[in-house]
Subunit: 332 residues, 2 copies
């Protein structure tokens, strides 16, 4: 029900996801009247895998997360999380208020033992394939212990996704050991001493885009700034390129002749492909879509959820964290 565009883009994205994923089933949680209207022209071959679960309220983008724990007990967000809790769904996907989603996920699904605070992880485009970044704003700051937990969670999530010995780095403003805040320096010495992860040291923000690590760990404030800077710069450069390429008639003619290039760049530079951030550390699979996601982007978030639910990430994360955390604590 939420996000900038609401069910208007979510319902068509669900149609695409069902078409592309024959074993997927989707439960739309929200206002039945509004959803039924949009479902009126559901392709018949999809209708058996698409259902509505009623919820009478909606968490708004500016609702204070803490209030959502006591109020709006029948919000679509809370009801969707409850379906995951009750094993009626394998994952919850939301484009709504991030803070509220995190607060409700912690409340309804609980946090995996050994994790102080969950973190949000997404992938970013880089030179030779995606890089994973966490935290993205679940926590405005992070203690050294929490940064270490983020590193563990991110590394394990990538390992389960098929990356052998993911290279884990701590985001810092220099690569020398004396650089950075106290928390970052302390987290670095914990990770070095524990030796359980493939920890590669500090990474600067520009090196993230050269794939100098597979998992980049930072506090939520910094991660959010890095992510949004990426969006801002990419949009700025794409706009300037479009402008310059259409400045004269001659350039316009060349652009038409070169349309294969522009199509390919549009595909490579689309942020849609990277939509779908995982709330790691929650005892259940919760995927956050960008609030401004369009149909294609929301489809990417749905497919991230579908793929991750096959691996039962939260359960395997809990097992592995339990073992790793023991080793890690022993090493300290």
């Amino acid at each position: 029900m939420s996000g900038d565009h609401g069910p208007r883009i979510i319902v068509p994205a669900c149609f695409s996801a069902l078409r592309r994923n024959p074993f997927l089933q989707i439960i739309l949680v929200g206002d039945p009247a509004q959803l039924s209207l949009l479902l009126a022209n559901t392709p018949s071959e999809l209708s058996s895998r698409l259902s509505i679960h009623p919820a009478s309220e909606v968490v708004l983008m500016d609702d204070p997360p803490a209030q959502m724990l006591r109020g709006k007990l029948d919000s679509s967000m809370r009801v969707a999380l409850q379906l995951v809790h009750d094993h009626q769904a394998d994952a919850c996907v939301s484009a709504g208020n991030t803070g509220a989603l995190m607060a409700l996920a912690r409340h309804v699904l609980k946090v995996i033992p050994g994790i102080d605070r969950p973190a949000i992880m997404t992938s970013l485009p880089a030179r030779s394939g995606p890089v994973h970044l966490l935290d993205l704003g679940a926590n405005v700051d992070a203690t050294a212990d929490q940064l270490v937990q983020f590193a563990l969670m991110g590394s394990l999530a990538l390992e389960l996704d098929g990356v052998a010995q993911p290279r884990v780095a701590l985001l810092n403003i220099g690569i020398e050991s004396i650089k950075g805040s106290q928390q970052v320096r302390l987290a670095a010495s914990c990770l070095e001493q524990a030796g359980t992860l493939n920890y590669t040291g500090y990474i600067e923000a520009d090196a993230v885009f050269r794939n100098e690590a597979d998992v980049v760990v930072c506090d939520g404030f910094t991660g959010n700034v890095l992510l949004k800077t990426t969006e801002g710069v990419a949009r700025l450069m794409a706009t300037q390129l479009r402008e310059e390429a259409g400045r004269t008639l001659w350039r316009k003619v060349l652009a038409v002749l070169n349309r294969g290039l522009w199509r390919e760049l549009g595909r490579r530079w689309s942020p849609d492909r990277y939509n779908g951030a995982a709330l790691l550390g929650i005892n259940g699979l919760v995927i956050k879509s960008h609030g401004g996601a369009g149909e294609r982007a929301f489809l990417a978030a749905l497919e991230t959820a579908a793929r991750m639910s096959l691996e039962d990430l939260p359960a395997r994360l809990a097992q592995r964290l339990d073992a790793l955390d023991g080793t890690h604590k022993a090493a300290r």
Copy 2:
């Protein structure tokens, strides 16, 4: 003497700067033997405005800043700052160790009264002209009071540079008043209550590139991450564009026909134009060049120094801060 390329790029950049700025005089501080060799082929019309001031040591990129206060008393960096202190130079430009430059600048030139900690400000490319960002890493964290001081310094620097009522915003991970760290929220309420600046509220990192503010204020860790993310994304996109545009013979032919476009993009996207960050709050003009700056980029830093020295920014900043700080304190 420092930076990634040392005097090899600095000397030719000085030739260009002298050629382009007929009233500029440059003192090269460093090893006379090394510098004399590079000055051997100085164009005769420039030689009267270029001199060497000897310094026997060099601050290295990994020298701990604090140690530079006691050791390397004859480093080129320290001697150059001393020349500013002694009014033998109007500004000091360095491509060396940022932390050491800041520490030595504070030690040799002192901090303007009313400022707790100086900040580093640079300009970034955005949709409709440059945006100014501070702090860039002088301080890994910042209290609310320090963020307010950064806002005052950035706003005044822009005003002196001809921007009427610069729009000042605090970098945050959301624009709602409940978002962000405690320091950021506290700084926001100080700026709102003081009312001395054209404070426009929070800004998210993507909005920076849409010119939603003229001055963007954050702690040094965040600013450094924002700046380096900008560099990383810009380089990634430029590389991918070059790759795609040269993938087939047909595209290569079109690229040759469209060389005006590529030249123009090269110019617009070059980070060289934005080189030269000011150490605001220091009682003397100090400009930090990117360590990896090439000749053109170092020229930009030299010209920033030349332009700012005409305005005697530090003195005017001190006067205005004195007045404003009084108003600001009274308002609280």
